[in-house]
């Protein structure tokens, strides 16, 4: 299980958060790819999960990542208006706003769950987003929050 890896780098004793990154195939995943091809450096904290569209994000994905012990979640898709499927991210936008609002209402830290739009041309910006999210999640420390299931939750198939 990707979230189950050891969290502390034994040599440096520095805390490295694990961030589940749900990236849309057409924009943000390509943006991450561009960052890689362009050798843009960013922290190796994200665990990328490629989804066909940000509209494919089920709210349960975010909750399940937290339950399984991810320290943070990043969800990223095409900029509104640029969706490969025309309106996927417009529909997702309403969902994201409600997820974010509900999670902070039940007392989850504001910076654990993050949403952004990154296009396929924004490799450098993708690196910046990951840096920013990593910094803020690191400041919060490990996920011991209200969604974390202590035994790691249901075993994945």
């Amino acid at each position: 299980m990707i979230m189950g890896e050891i969290q502390v780098d034994a040599e440096n004793k520095k805390y490295e958060p694990k961030i589940a990154a749900f990236l849309c195939n057409w924009c943000s995943y390509a943006g991450a790819d561009l960052a890689g091809v362009g050798r843009v450096q960013y922290p190796a904290t994200i665990r990328t999960i490629r989804v066909p569209c940000s509209g494919r994000i089920n709210p349960l994905y975010v909750l399940k990542a937290m339950a399984n012990g991810a320290d943070g979640v990043l969800v990223s898709g095409c900029h509104p208006g640029d969706c490969h499927y025309i309106s996927g991210n417009y529909v997702a936008r309403r969902k994201f706003a409600l997820i974010k609002s509900l999670l902070s209402h039940v007392g989850l830290e504001e910076d654990r769950v993050n949403f952004s739009w990154v296009s396929a041309a924004e490799g450098i910006r993708f690196a910046e987003v990951v840096k920013g999210v990593t910094e803020r999640v690191s400041a919060l420390g490990p996920n011991n929050g209200i969604f974390k299931v202590d035994d790691g939750g249901a075993a994945d198939e």
Binding site: Y90, R94, F96, H105, G107, V149
Partner: protein
């Protein structure tokens, strides 16, 4: 009240006798005091078991899609809103429904009564007063004192759609919806809110009564029952309880009609409405949408505009 029930029975008898509907879905006296139970009348002889009073708390829209054939449904304001959402989502055929609309002045929430008098042995409702004989004492209540929280701020006591109306309609002020309860929670600090929901979720036993009572929880397979992927383990765990409640509430966002059926069904007294109301408020504030206030229209999350608010985006 008596006139209303006589009219309901008469209409039900007529509809069944004429063969216009196969079944009338209404309420009958439950086996416990102060509890009505849903009832399905298939023949004109059975209509005398139908009742109508402040104990008719179930949302009968929950049974509409599960009941085959043409059906007449005794419908309160919130039931009709749930039916409207089900119609918007193509879960029902309008021609199969005969909606007998009744204006509702609210239903009884037993929780406070149970806390004061213990298990209810006998109860009588007359002239807006409820006298209760309980295991630990007797008490008389005014109806307003034991009215369900959701009924106290109800803006739709009259059905939003109906084929026939029985009794008088109830006038309510049509101001913007008030969300005093949500605002009160929002004004607390994040850690206070976290403590509040931790306490609530530690009561939950995940019996899924809330889901079963909900007229809009109609998924063929609920995510909690799903084996692949397995979203939840079977164990009782506060974090997973919150996962379940948050997941359910997000599924109901922009669809919940705030009938309060989930909260009344909860055997543990979990404040489920606190989450649902938060989503209702957000949907109203952000998208100016109220669920099921007309047959036409779409649920808020099936629609979008190009300038929906984006405050949720990560700070850069």
């Amino acid at each position: 009240m008596n006139n209303i029930i006589n009219e309901i029975r008469e209409k039900a008898r007529q509809l069944l006798a004429e063969g216009k509907v196969d079944v009338v879905i209404g309420y009958e006296k439950g086996s416990l005091p102060l509890k009505a139970t849903p009832c399905f009348v298939h023949s004109p002889e059975g209509v005398d078991s139908l009742i109508w009073d402040e104990t008719c708390e179930n949302n009968l829209a929950a049974y509409a899609a599960k009941t085959p054939g043409k059906k007449a449904i005794i419908t309160k304001g919130c039931d009709s809103r749930a039916l409207a959402v089900l119609l918007q989502e193509n879960q029902l055929v309008r021609d199969d429904l005969f909606i007998i609309g009744v204006s509702c002045s609210g239903v009884i929430d037993q929780r406070n009564i149970l806390a004061e008098v213990g298990e209810i042995l006998e109860a009588k409702i007359s002239d807006g007063k409820i006298s209760v004989k309980g295991m630990e004492g007797d008490k008389e209540y005014l109806f307003a004192e034991v009215k369900d929280a959701t009924c106290q701020t109800c803006r739709y006591p009259n059905p939003v759609m109906e084929d026939l109306h029985i009794g008088e309609t109830i006038e309510v002020a049509q101001d913007a919806p008030a969300f005093a309860d949500v605002v009160a929670l929002e004004e607390k600090s994040a850690s206070d809110r976290q403590d509040y929901f931790k306490e609530q979720m530690s009561k939950c036993i995940r019996c899924y009564a809330c889901r079963n009572a909900c007229p809009l929880c109609y998924c063929q397979e609920c995510f909690v029952d799903c084996n692949s992927p397995r979203w939840l383990t079977g164990g009782v765990n506060r974090a997973e309880n919150l996962f379940f409640q948050a997941g359910r509430v997000l599924h109901l966002a922009g669809r919940c009609v705030d009938c309060g059926a989930c909260t009344r069904a909860c055997p543990q007294g979990v404040d489920i409405r606190a989450l649902n109301r938060k989503m209702t408020k957000d949907v109203y504030v952000m998208y100016n949408h109220e669920a099921g206030i007309g047959e036409e229209g779409k649920p808020a999350l099936n629609e979008y505009t190009t300038n929906d608010p984006e405050q949720f985006l990560v700070k850069e």
